[in-house]
């Protein structure tokens, strides 16, 4: 094998964009649910106005940044926010990809030491619960079994919520 130097790291553009789109979907769904979903409203009520959280993929990965504005959790985009009140860092793009494609739940990623938290632990627990609630709406039960410790009971009201989130919510965040 020849001697090689200055080997630049390769990029996985497809995975990068898949994670970015996944984060966007999660952000819009969460924003939408914060208008009317009782559990989301209750969890978000613990945060003060302006509370900002960022879920980042370390190094060159995308982010999911959201802020509490009034009663609503507003999706702010995919750019890293270094001064957020809570930063949850996913160790690498591969892990984030597994999360958004329902191959791994937040607790699995935590168990593999592939997630770290900068900020208050109760806030991070609240954020994880919010993600679980939204994932319960976004994915069907057979996929949720892979990523949630407890699949939600889909009452008629929750079925309506799901329809709302997957249509109006995903398109407009309303």
């Amino acid at each position: 094998m020849a001697i090689r130097t200055d080997i630049e790291p390769q990029r996985e553009d497809l995975k990068y964009h898949a994670v970015k789109v996944g984060f966007m979907a999660l952000g819009r769904a969460l924003q939408s649910a914060s208008h009317f979903e009782n559990e989301v409203i209750a969890e978000a009520s613990a945060w003060n106005e302006g509370f900002t959280f960022s879920m980042d993929v370390k190094h060159t990965g995308p982010s999911l940044v959201m802020q509490k504005q009034g009663r609503i959790l507003k999706f702010l985009g995919n750019e890293k926010c270094s001064n957020a009140d809570l930063i949850v860092e996913i160790q690498d793009l591969e892990t984030a990809f597994k999360m958004i494609t329902t191959q791994a739940g937040a607790h699995h990623v935590f168990a593999e030491n592939k997630i770290s938290v900068i900020g208050n632990i109760p806030d991070s627990m609240r954020l994880i619960r919010l993600i679980y609630i939204i994932e319960g709406y976004l994915f069907p039960k057979f996929l949720n079994k892979n990523i949630l410790k407890r699949s939600p009971v889909m009452t008629l009201q929750k079925q309506f919520n799901r329809l709302h989130i997957l249509t109006k919510g995903m398109l407009f965040g309303k």
Binding site: A106, H107, H108, F110, A111, E112, N113, S116, V117, I118, G119, N120, I121, P122, S124, M125, R126, I128, R129, L148, K149, R150
Partner: protein, 394 residues
């Protein structure tokens, strides 16, 4: 045994264990290129004469103890940590020796953060993996057998201004050396021996059964349970039994290695909240809650509890119990152990005996679901689940 698709394990702490292990302190400090340690301990340790044992370990050496601080309170705070850090710098110390239980050890770890990061405000480092500076050499001499802090990467310090507990976790908090000397735990009173021992048992059980479990931490947890089963009651009933004391010190350390690499679960999450709201002693909260949380988790991880019946109850009971009943038998054995310990030293076995009031339940449940230890618990717990467990344990 199922091996996870990925896991991490680290235990770089050198362990010096056995008779006269304290005599190795000067050599260890030399190896770590330190010459002027600060000793951080508490009044209980110095009044019991245990500090003298440590200082005697330096006889005929060329190490000067730069500072002895024996005013660490049982619930250490940011103020105490900052005060010790100032004294550390004023006295040109270059290393730390922590002598005591969880509070003294956690305080020493937090002092190490302040002096190594060269930063006045400890609060800046709250959370996971926030440290970057190379820490000062830290040697830990535990005087209780339960916390396992001598081999863990965690420190918890109270912020008395805000009334909250601040957790710090980082691989950089791991001590350089843990020194287990049998004479250091001999004076531990029976009830404290029992509750700290049950804390160690809980570390081992949760490490073996929670989501971050791995083959390395399993091995440590398994051995810890076996040692606890054979020695805890002896250490409680005959405090001067150095062999039982030493076995418990080893068990506590092994359980510490296990949970430092696989985390704890819902017993700790609810126990932390019981401590914060109703001031229940941590080890006692663990002893009370462990069987009831296991009952809750039974349908999810019963097969793992069934395995643990062997190290806890021994080969005969294990073999004579039907495989389908072993998990329940394990829980029953833990309950029986609690009752036997209660008989020996009046250890509370129900929350009402430990001073918890039903009026505290809602606050405890709210806090518990926001505790980081809930995440690795294999079964999801809502506030109402926690309330059911509290009611059962009351």
């Amino acid at each position: 045994m199922t091996i996870p698709r990925y896991y991490e394990f680290q235990n770089p702490v050198k362990i010096n264990a056995g008779e006269d292990a304290l005599r190795t302190l000067p050599a260890e400090l030399k190896r770590l290129q330190a010459a002027r340690p600060a000793v951080i301990t508490d009044k209980g340790v110095s009044n019991a004469g245990l500090l003298d044992h440590v200082l005697n370990g330096f006889k005929n050496s060329d190490i000067t103890i730069g500072l002895v601080f024996d005013e660490t309170p049982s619930d250490s705070s940011v103020t105490v940590v900052n005060r010790i850090a100032d004294l550390f710098i004023e006295n040109n110390c270059d290393s730390i020796i922590a002598v005591g239980g969880g509070s003294a050890i956690d305080t020493a770890k937090a002092v190490n953060i302040v002096v190594s990061e060269n930063e006045k405000d400890l609060r800046k480092f709250v959370g996971a993996d926030r440290l970057s500076a190379r820490p000062k050499p830290l040697i830990v001499v535990p005087t209780t057998a339960g916390t396992g802090s001598e081999v863990t990467l965690v420190a918890v310090i109270s912020d008395t201004e805000k009334g909250v507990k601040l957790p710090f976790t980082s691989r950089l908090l791991l001590p350089s050396v843990a020194v287990l000397d049998p004479k250091m735990t001999i004076s531990l009173p029976p009830r404290l021996t029992a509750t700290t021992g049950m804390d160690a048992l809980t570390h081992a059980v949760e490490a073996y059964t929670c989501l971050q479990k791995n083959p390395m931490s399993d091995a440590f947890a398994w051995s810890a349970i076996s040692l606890i089963s054979n020695n805890l009651e002896k250490a409680v009933s005959s405090g001067q039994d150095t062999s039982a004391r030493f076995a418990m010190a080893n068990a506590s350390l092994m359980a510490g290695v296990a949970f430092s690499n696989s985390m704890v679960g819902a017993v700790h999450a609810i126990g932390h909240a019981c401590g914060a709201v109703a001031h229940v002693h941590h080890g006692n909260a663990m002893a009370i809650l462990l069987p009831y949380v296991m009952k809750f988790n039974l349908d999810t991880i019963g097969h793992l509890y069934a395995e643990l019946l062997l190290p806890l109850a021994g080969a005969e009971i294990y073999a004579n119990t039907k495989p389908t009943l072993r998990a329940r038998k394990f829980i029953e054995e833990v309950l029986l152990l609690n009752y036997r310990l209660s008989k020996l030293c009046a250890m509370p076995v129900k929350l009402n005996q430990a001073g918890v009031k039903r009026a505290d339940f809602k606050k405890i449940a709210e806090m518990a679901v926001n505790d980081g230890a809930m995440l690795p618990n294999p079964k999801d717990l809502s506030e109402s689940d926690v309330l059911s467990i509290l009611n059962e344990a009351y």
